[in-house]
Point group: C2
Chain length 186, copies 2
């Protein structure tokens, strides 16, 4: 099984004008991406924000579904949200993986724009099979800031559909990318 | 180009106890699935509910993004939400396609459970290439009621990941299925 970890980061990301910002949490991002991560066997899902009040909100959402009323109402949802770890940065997430897995992970970022050094889903799927820890990072708002992209070990190719429309939600993009990397029975 | 239309239905669907219900709209379903439908070249996205107040709510969300303040704020979102047509039933959606395309569409349903007569993504992708209209139906809540599944021309295979966890959101499932059918450059 691949040693895959997923992160959704709220900083540093860009807004529609290209400025670097910290974005706000979206409740359904936590639900949808944890359910997809669970479906495709990811070992953890890091929700990354440097803002203290947003960390508290994220932990409150998670605890509702993992130990609060939601856990009894929907045990399947509980299993998914138990994957979530709230961290202040991608580096803190990577260090947490190192602590748990014994090796600092390779990082891969996803981006809706083309980059010269981007890697195909097929190639990255092969890399995942080596069993070493990998952290796959998704961005909120208008996408990851260039600093995060430049620091990553791999940049995945953008998702192409059948049109020039290139505005999937991060929830949809995460689902499609996990399926391209790990899905069976197409 | 395939002549594909997408529907998200809120009735008849089942709840966690297996009872047939009408579910409530979820705002992000409209956004995420219209953006995915646009990405993969679907010609329309039918939001189906027999409840009058829910039809009004759906049209209000759509008009905010297609002619209200949202249209100016985010033109890419406008293009996606312009795909949405609100209808009272799958049959009404199919008749609307017949009116626009000249041929009553074949219907395909998606289901998280295995069915004996289910068709693979590859086979259904080939069928789409014949250019005849097809309506791909997704269910909300705990999935489509059996009556809708029985009436469909095709039942698509469930999405399998790498685990036995089988609880994707409909937003994630719709994105993955459109990508499996029509995505390029995996």
């Amino acid at each position: 099984m691949p040693n895959l970890h997923v992160a959704l980061t709220h900083y540093p990301v860009i807004n529609k004008n290209g400025d670097t910002i910290a974005s706000a949490l979206t409740n359904l991002d936590l639900h949808d991406i944890s359910r997809a991560a669970m479906t495709y066997g990811a070992r953890s899902f890091y929700v990354v924000t440097p803002l203290g009040d947003q960390q508290i909100l994220a932990r409150r959402i998670v605890s509702h579904w993992t130990s609060g009323a939601g856990a009894e109402y929907n045990p399947a949802r509980r299993r998914a949200l138990e994957l979530i770890r709230v961290k202040e940065s991608i580096e803190a997430a990577a260090k947490d993986i190192e602590k748990n897995e014994g090796i600092y992970p390779k990082t891969a970022v996803t981006c809706a724009r083309h980059h010269t050094a981007s890697i195909s889903y097929e190639k990255f799927g092969h890399i995942l099979k080596n069993g070493l820890p990998c952290l796959l990072v998704f961005g909120t708002a208008w996408g990851l800031a260039q600093t995060l992209i430049s620091e990553a070990d791999y940049v995945l190719q953008p998702i192409t559909g059948t049109t020039d429309y290139n505005h999937l939600s991060v929830r949809s993009a995460a689902a499609i990318i996990l399926d391209r990397l790990l899905g069976a029975g197409r």
